[in-house]
């Protein structure tokens, strides 16, 4: 029983790991998007060599376990430049997410009907303008459900930063588990926290999607 109480008292400490977890997730998603969207655009609109190179990058990253990417950054860059392991993990998450987001955005972009581009060009817009004003705004709305899915994945994957010693939620939980001698309860608590965050994130993204939705006939 004292074990349970000890875990209960350690919850604040577990929670302090959440901050790092969220930071990792946000960094991974944000840079993943920053890189992923341009990559998708190249994949869809650019010709020959560029598209090929981008595709090669995407397929390679998607064939690798996240752990391998984390270690590549950790041993390769972080140690050489003496950077904190947090950065290695964040970069790894970002690189991985960029590949998956590139595919996600590509699907969304390609699902926007051809007619939209034709109409935009017929008004005199350049390709770039058409993409920027017409295609991308629609593609972003369409991609929200898939992006929501990706966000959940990055959040769960952030737990792998544990492997290089980042002091995120998993690491904190492990300490608590060792100190209190209650691994089961500790890790269930950690699971519950991850679940709660995922749930909240999905909900808010659903709400965002509803607010951004282009009204259809039925809703007028």
């Amino acid at each position: 029983m004292e074990g349970y109480i000890a875990v209960f008292r350690s919850i604040p400490y577990i929670f302090s790991g959440v901050k790092t977890t969220l930071l990792l997730t946000a960094a991974g998603l944000a840079f993943g998007a920053l890189l992923g969207l341009p990559l998708a655009l190249v994949r869809v609109y650019a010709g020959g060599l560029w598209a090929f190179v981008v595709n090669l990058y995407i397929q390679t990253i998607r064939s690798l376990p996240l752990l391998v990417i984390i270690f590549l950054f950790y041993y390769g860059i972080a140690q050489a430049l003496n950077l904190p392991e947090f950065l290695a993990a964040a970069l790894a998450l970002a690189v991985r997410s960029s590949a998956y987001q590139a595919e996600l955005f590509r699907g969304a972009i390609q699902s926007i009907a051809q007619g939209q581009m034709l109409a935009a060009r017929s008004l005199g817009m350049t390709r770039l303008e058409a993409v920027g004003y017409i295609i991308v705004p629609q593609a972003i709305r369409v991609s929200i459900p898939s992006w929501s899915n990706e966000a959940a994945i990055v959040l769960k994957d952030s737990s792998l930063a544990y492997a290089v010693g980042v002091l995120e939620l998993m690491r904190h939980t492990e300490y608590v588990s060792a100190r209190t001698g209650e691994p089961f309860v500790s890790f269930m608590v950690a699971g519950a926290i991850y679940f709660a965050i995922t749930f909240a994130t999905n909900r808010s993204l659903d709400a965002a999607e509803r607010r951004l939705r282009i009204p259809s006939q039925a809703e007028v």
Binding site: L67, Y75, S159, S177, F184, F187, G191, F195, T198
Partner: protein, 231 residues
Amino acid sequence: MSDVPAGTVDYLIFILPTLLKGAVVTIKLSTTAFTIGLALGLPLAMIRVYGRGFIRWTAVAYIEALRGTPLLVQLFVIYYGLPDLVPALQLDRYTAAFLALGLNSAAYQAEYFRGAIQSINEGQLQAALSVGMTPFQAVRHIVIPQALRLSLPALSNEVAYMLKYTSIVFIIAVPDLMARGKILIGKHWRAEEVLTAVAVIYIVLVNTAAKAMGFIEDRYRIPGLQTDRPG
């Protein structure tokens, strides 16, 4: 260590057998996990779609819990947490790994099957009943064959996922590809070379599996039905 070759190529050849042994473990882990996932996931999906009340709620809870939490947490709960709860449940690391990966895969596969089952229009079920089939026969001969085939692209993805995510078992010292790589790095401190070799082997594994699944998809595709690959 004087018997470790200095040159890169020689070193790679030197470590290859060790890494390949790890790759075998990786393959065993993923195929077993995938199979467990299939055996559990299909019934789960059926309960989700056709079940009622408490049992359906349990299936939903299971699926949501396992999909909403990191695989690492699940692994730790099984390996470290279960024996804490019930001392008799101290599983060896291999069993814990199979179990965690398999249970996790079952939850994801259940969702893929659910999507496939629900995309089969209800009219076909009615037609099956109207010809005199029992509900059980209708499910067995009409729903399941189609659901399995419609899920093939998603299952293809799942195989690739399994191959990649088995890498986490190195954390509980199961000697898979990732684990052996890590050990070699610890021994020889030649991380770039080891990691490159490990990466290449994973790439080969994942792409070969994808090709194989592609053949299976082509062979069993229902003519005329479009199937979507999940992102």
